[in-house]
């Protein structure tokens, strides 16, 4: 059991090193970030003493994934398996428990830690078999996968748009539109296995063009209900709506090219920083898009030769 936890620590160190972080600095940063974010939740959210443990329990639910637990059951006898799960849940739950106590939630904190212990003895019963229909079946890849994973966020963005119209808050509608594009960007954040690039009988240029074309059309389609609604109720701001639409498509394009610029490696810290900066300051994409495009072609050349 001790070896298992040492091995897990080694794995996290490896992930962090591969992502370009110093593991010790990263761990320290995570602790600092945890304290800052916890504080933000308690400052910004009403009924934070309920929302905060709820967020923690959602995170803990990840440890209850069936496949992971089947693996653990294969590795350990029943008693050790239960102990491992309890320790794992404890390691994640205790910082939240301490923060709850620090914030004076003396009633909620013990209930929370009790739930953490109880949850450790159950596997997730999430069903993976339901096939969610999508309008993207002709080009089944990033948008089909992404839509099925994030369709709730799209529903939320549409609801936000309706609210923005009702309360006459144009900025909220723009936020909903950009949220859509940020989610679409996320579809291209993880590099696919080289096999899924290799199968294409295309040059790197044609491959990139087809990826950008598909992403532009599909992200435009996803945001179309928002565009129509906003333009209908704010006809005087139609130019702005189109401008944000264009910026959104450029966000997605920037991320596609950024992904292949480092392909097949995972995104590194420099890439995250540059893409993040482009989101905050879109004109930067005038530099990043050509640069990523040229680098992507080079990176793809070895696979699509």
């Amino acid at each position: 059991m001790k070896f298992y936890f040492i091995l897990q620590l080694k794995r996290y160190f490896r992930y962090l090193k591969e992502a370009g972080f110093n593991p010790y600095i990263a761990f320290f940063s995570i602790i600092v970030l945890f304290i800052i974010l916890s504080n933000v939740i308690f400052v910004k959210i009403k009924f934070a003493e309920y929302a905060y443990p709820f967020i923690a329990l959602i995170i803990l639910n990840k440890l209850s994934a069936k496949q992971r637990n089947n693996f653990l059951k294969n590795c350990f006898n029943l008693n050790n398996y239960k102990a491992v799960r309890l320790i794992e849940n404890g390691l994640i739950g205790i910082p939240f428990f301490i923060f709850l106590l620090f914030k004076g939630a003396y009633l909620i904190a013990p209930i929370f830690i009790f739930l953490v212990a109880v949850l450790s003895q159950f596997n997730s019963i999430k069903s993976y078999s339901l096939v969610i229909p999508t309008p993207f079946h002709k080009k089944p890849f990033e948008f089909i996968v992404g839509f099925r994973k994030a369709f709730i966020v799209f529903i939320v963005s549409y609801v936000l748009t309706v609210i923005s119209v009702k309360v006459d808050n144009f900025n909220l509608g723009v936020f909903a539109m950009l949220l859509n594009f940020l989610i679409c960007m996320g579809f291209y954040s993880k590099p696919e296995p080289p096999f899924y690039v290799w199968i294409h009988a295309k040059t790197p240029t044609d491959f990139l063009k087809s990826k950008i074309k598909t992403a532009s059309i599909f992200s435009f389609l996803i945001s179309l209900p928002i565009v129509i609604l906003l333009a209908y109720f704010n006809p005087d701001k139609a130019v702005y709506i189109l401008l944000f639409e264009l910026v959104g498509i450029l966000y997605v394009t920037n991320n596609i090219l950024g992904k292949y610029a480092y392909y097949p490696s995972e995104i590194n810290i420099n890439h995250v920083f540059i893409v993040g900066l482009s989101i905050v300051f879109p004109p930067l994409m005038l530099l990043t898009i050509p640069s990523f495009y040229s680098r992507s072609k080079q990176q793809l050349n070895s696979i699509l030769k």
């Binding site: 096939v131 079946h137 089909i144 096999f195 899924y196 199968i199 294409h200 009988a201 030769k305």
Partner: protein, 226 residues
């Protein structure tokens, strides 16, 4: 025809393939045999263009990659993609129109379910179906019979005969000698990254005996089983 000349492949200081020289002709089924770690998958990856290498691999009819169907030992499927969508994706990649999916589903796979939830054998059958739908000229099949049920094994054997008849180039690996015996025209024995023997159908038993004597008997003795 595919011609492999003086192929060398190393990972750092570890030399995985050493001076491989082979020819694969159209209308022939070539089997590559060897222990785990002998270099079979690396050889396939080099032919398919997944790996850089020293030496030359040439194909008489142009670019190998664009006409090759590659069945990996353990096909990987993207999450939240149905079997049908996977087949569509593979056809799109080669600009091939994907029509009549029901008729093309020769293994009776549940194409409307997520491929990631398929069993090992079903995954293999789906990946194999995709390589067939792509209209490839070259088929690299790494362990096509592994994890597949008996009925499907029979279908795969018949498919190999059909591919041979259609003048395709087929290169496969398997650890099941009976299937190699039935399907292959030539066997190439790979050991520690070197081809130590290449034989025609009439001499397959030499390779089988050689593998058994060198890799099985002594090792089982070492276990000191009572």
């Amino acid at each position: 025809m595919i011609t492999v000349k003086s192929l060398h492949k190393s990972f750092g200081k570890n030399s995985v393939l050493k001076n491989i020289n082979l020819q694969f002709k159209a209308g022939e089924v070539n089997g590559i045999v060897g222990e785990n770690g002998a270099g079979k998958t690396t050889l396939f990856n080099c032919i398919g263009g997944f790996e850089d290498y020293e030496g030359t691999i040439s194909y008489s009819n142009g670019n190998i990659k664009n006409v090759t169907g590659f069945l990996t030992t353990d096909p990987y499927f993207l999450g939240k993609i149905t079997g049908l969508e996977y087949l569509q994706l593979m056809c799109n990649a080669r600009d091939i129109e994907f029509i009549n999916p029901e008729e093309k589903n020769i293994f009776d796979l549940p194409l409307n379910r997520y491929a990631e939830n398929y069993s090992t054998g079903m995954k293999k059958k789906l990946a194999l179906t995709a390589t067939l739908l792509q209209g490839n000229e070259i088929f690299i099949l790494d362990e096509p019979f592994n994890g597949v049920d008996i009925q499907s094994n029979i279908i795969i054997k018949e498919l190999l005969f059909k591919l041979k008849e259609l003048n395709k180039i087929v290169i496969l690996s398997s650890h099941i000698f009976s299937t190699l015996n039935e399907t292959c025209d030539y066997l190439h024995h790979l050991r520690d990254g070197e081809i130590i023997n290449s034989v025609g159908k009439d001499k397959f038993d030499i390779i089988e005996k050689n593998m058994i004597s060198n890799t099985v008997e002594n090792r089982i003795k070492n276990l000191d089983l009572d």
